[in-house]
Symmetry: C2
Subunit: 190 residues, 2 copies
Amino acid sequence: MARTRLTPERESELYAAVLDLLREVGYDGLTMDAVAARTRSSKATLYRQWGSKPELVVTALRHNKPVSLGEVDTGSLRGDFHAVLSRTDDCQMEKDAALMRGLSHAVHNNPDLLQALRDLLIEPELTGLETLLRRALDRGELRPDNPALKYVSHMLIGAFAARQLVEDRAVDRAFLTDYVDSVILPALGI
Amino acid sequence: MARTRLTPERESELYAAVLDLLREVGYDGLTMDAVAARTRSSKATLYRQWGSKPELVVTALRHNKPVSLGEVDTGSLRGDFHAVLSRTDDCQMEKDAALMRGLSHAVHNNPDLLQALRDLLIEPELTGLETLLRRALDRGELRPDNPALKYVSHMLIGAFAARQLVEDRAVDRAFLTDYVDSVILPALGI
């Protein structure tokens, strides 16, 4: 499909508007009409540029790349977790949580969307997490047969999901830091 | 509002149909038309009996009460967790997970629905969990200053949420049993 050239600024602005709508109304509620109105584009332009709603949403998600966990290297697993958290912005965490909520039902009925979400938001974080854990194993901080090792991502995702459900509050840095120190490191025997 | 008498069987059948629809299309996608068609009722009857969609959904949820965790008492925390899991049905767990997915976006925009979900599905489980933990404290199995104590529900909810997101599989008894033994008991120092 031939694409008209958009300026990078215009493209970023358009993807940001798609993600904002996704957070507000969810995937099922997001219409091409609403995207057109919000971005002051014509629907014809949107369809010509992106083909379909799933393609537009996936491209917008892909554009909004997360920071990689694996780049941090302080010499201890506790230090790595704390360094990652100190670089994290409370406002960005709330925005990511809103994105996950907006997508959570739709992904179950839409395998392409689930795949995009995995590739773009979940896999990069898991790969970064594996890098941190691999270095802790190499340093001898962690034993390779520790049974909690395969569940670190579950513990982390639980912190996000339960904070919403049980406490009805967004995660923030202070909460995640206490959770890492109280749950994740002790379960790993550190 | 005066309610026509429905037989308890007919009422249960109707609530079950509402929960099935909720799992299939989510709260936002659930229409009174679909409920009427699925249950072979008239829409006028549904509105006369329940007033509105949130009331109908909340009443259907309230009708479907969960089993209480707190009734189990084996003499050890490990034994209690294993006993609860041995009474749990894999199929029922998948149905509850589908219900949570169907509601997760809607609850954020609908405080009445969130309150009903908390009262009916989350609070009874948390109260049961507290009973198990309180008895473990009384027996001296757990120390009251254990920092992981306040996060047991987060660890449990994480098992459900992450299993879906990371592995795209429903939780089952074997998975939850391994998670309890590998994560929850070690984090609690047991």
